[in-house]
Subunit: 451 residues, 2 copies
């Protein structure tokens, strides 16, 4: 048996790690112990005692109990269960992983945005504590026993539901992404914001649980022949409301959601009830949902006429463009990160489409000259984030890293120039262009706009 | 258009909801507004002003700004983004949803258990703050920059990895359940603990991210011909260690995991590094993982000889029974809950198997006399929780509700008597019997042991 003092390929100075002498001693004891342990429980107990005795005999003369120079956590009693009132929190060493505001982007923190730290996230589930926030007039922690949902308009029987009523109906659970229509908005212009948290951080993904809206409309006797549009209205001060096409609801995908990632929705996400409209921009996922009204034409609400409309090159506004088209982004390496040395680096990122499943993601490590397919991490679900991974050996020279997603409809994520040719560059919403990260010779990564 | 004052089928007293007169006024304004809004953005803005003027004209003479008797959250500014240092927390109304200790079950809170509140959870993802806890000597929040993983034993090159080293290797993300081998332990005897939190709450499910252990063993040149067993060892004071069969590792499923539900592992779950051994009982998922040693026979560690061994009817202990067999439980309705009225009630629960995917779950609402298949909620993943749902109309009479899972190997979850016939009733570990909930005439649900 070799000692661990022989350096491994990736050996680094093991501060506060157990010392080599201690390791040799533990090795010897473990070997002894193992042969004895295997004879059974009683023998094992005896061997354990023997091993302890052996350790005691080796202890320094001054009686230092830390005979192996073990760190405190390896020899003392830790913290008890069910701390913090039985609801755990992240490590103190992860305090830098948090949602952030972009200073100066908004004049208040109530009509504002907090971006999710995509550069620090793994897999596809966004922890609810880090889910992006977009409020139009701040958020509230509403008493669920007092909250009501009204169904009215073109229905036989207008109805009012308590949360208990809703939660007693048959439910479904589904994983979906939600993206603000204004995600990556600054990238339309010449501003290259520094990190992926700010370029793409109005994006999150959760397992939602709730009741298909169509079931409740059926209970109310909605006229789905005349009533091809719904108004969804929130209870918070912004009076947020959006038109939802009935055909989306008839697909069964639109949910009256109360659950998110296993627990009740968080207050910032519309507790106790939110409309989940898979594939559609976040502004339609009405939070604090208090009313669904069935109507025979679009409702022309503020945030689908004045706001959330696409300014086209000819100066016209395109309205009701709600579906989030296929898009992807490399989250590591990304702007603000530094590659400390050349050699192997994993590339990872996220892809998504409001039209269905991701079919393929290509990665370029040469500024778009060549592309190779990334590994898609399963499960690949419809209207859900898909994690991709790609192996890369950096030669130390400056280069540009990009990803390009293709969805199951065959739609290919456009380059920035391709998108600009159709949409111009003066818009705010629905920017799904390929993102470019420049890796500089010193290893620093920055956001660049390539033509 | 009908007013919402016409009662819907489920109408209940709408406390603090908007008053009928206000609703009629808003309806009228919305109707006006809608016709105008549809002409375009400018017209919409004008109509918005007109609507505001109309509201002001309707305001009471005393100048009360709350002209529609709206609750404060519908007319005032809420809280800003990125509260709580940019890491959100659940609603204050959900304070009762927490992990709990079972008073008297353990003498300290460090060598103890906190159970997950399964009765309050949705879908399959367990929020990390509610993930069950099982510590042998308490938990620590260890500095990840000082943590090391050693690979030694039957390897060509013993190696020591920093967390940075590990996180630079290619990673995968997978959803898996983890269940303590002692989950449902009290059900072996005559103790019927009151709630599903205490009967089955040492069960959780997460999306884990990490490096397949086999990749690291390959780097170290592990002798996988002689070295058919691994010792996994934790850095905390309990010196937790377990033997892992090499064949499990060779499947690629065993992970050196640092990510859980999108973020770094929580301290209680072994931050910064934990072994993920899909399908295997939680004690083998070594937390604070500091060493993997390759050996040619099982290591006979304390918690696989003295502990976590099955006491069989003949008085022998069966060791190394690690796979969690197929199991399920109804989480609603469950012990401690009350059905307030007869009529429709959704039945929901969880099913899982350490052998692969869940193939079917049957539900009985008559104490096991008849069974009907439940709806399985996708995605159904291997060695992962599967949520099932079942529609039920309660006639108000006492009855027993049960669920029975079948996995893709064809294994059928046993009844309590079937399990006892093989295993006796004096064991602690690996109780996967069918759980029975008695719904009493008064609606109260309780745990019962049926023969």
């Amino acid at each position: 048996m070799t000692s661990q003092t022989q350096p491994g390929r990736l050996l680094k100075a093991p501060e506060n790690f157990i010392d080599p002498d201690g390791v040799r001693r533990v090795f010897a004891e473990a070997k002894e112990g193992r042969r004895d342990f295997i004879r059974g429980a009683f023998a094992a107990a005896a061997a354990g005692v023997a091993a302890t005795a052996a350790r005691a005999a080796d202890a320094p003369a001054d009686g230092d109990p830390n005979i192996l120079n073990l760190p405190e956590y390896s020899r003392a009693l830790g913290q008890g269960v069910a701390q913090n009132n039985g609801y755990g929190v992240p490590s103190k060493y992860e305090a830098n992983v948090r949602r952030r505001i972009s200073p100066g982007l908004t004049q208040t923190t109530q009509a504002s945005v907090a971006f999710a730290p995509l550069q620090s996230l793994f897999g596809i589930v966004t922890p609810s504590g880090l889910h992006f926030e977009r409020h139009h007039q701040g958020w509230w922690d509403m008493d669920p026993t007092k909250h009501r949902l009204m169904i009215n308009g073109l229905v036989k029987t207008p109805m009012v539901f308590t949360m208990d009523d809703i939660m007693r109906l048959p439910s479904v659970s589904r994983f979906h992404f939600v993206e603000c229509g204004a995600n990556s908005a600054m990238e339309w212009g010449n501003v290259a914001v520094p990190t992926v948290q700010y370029t793409h951080g109005m994006l999150s993904c959760s397992e939602f649980t709730g009741v298909p809206l169509i079931k409740v409309l059926e209970m109310a006797g909605a006229d789905t022949k005349k009533g091809r549009f719904l108004l969804a209205e929130g209870a918070d001060g912004s009076g947020q409301s959006r038109t939802i096409p009935m055909e989306l609801v008839e697909s069964g995908e639109v949910l009256l959601a109360y659950g998110q990632n296993g627990e009740m929705l968080r207050p910032e996400q519309g507790y106790p009830l939110r409309l989940v409209v898979p594939g559609v921009q976040g502004v339609s996922w009405i939070k604090y949902l208090r009313r669904i009204k069935v109507g025979d034409m679009p409702f022309g609400a503020k945030d689908e006429t004045v706001g959330y409309a696409d300014l086209m090159p000819d100066g016209q506004h395109r309205q009701y463009t709600s579906i989030q088209e296929c898009k992807s982004v490399v989250t590591t390496p990304s702007g603000g990160q530094v590659l400390l040395e050349k050699g192997f680096h994993p590339i990872t990122g996220l892809a998504w489409s409001g039209r269905g499943k991701i079919q393929r993601v290509d990665v370029s490590v040469d500024g778009g000259r060549s592309w190779r397919p990334a590994r898609l991490q399963g499960p690949v679900m419809s209207k859900c984030l898909t994690r991709f991974n790609f192996d890369w050996v950096w030669d130390g020279k400056p280069t540009i890293i990009q990803s390009r997603a293709i969805d199951e409809t065959g739609y290919v994520q456009p380059t920035k120039p391709q998108l600009a040719a159709v949409r111009g560059t003066r818009g705010i919403y629905h920017n799904n262009a390929i993102q470019s990260w420049l890796v500089q010779e010193n290893g620093e990564v920055k956001n660049v706009h390539v033509s």
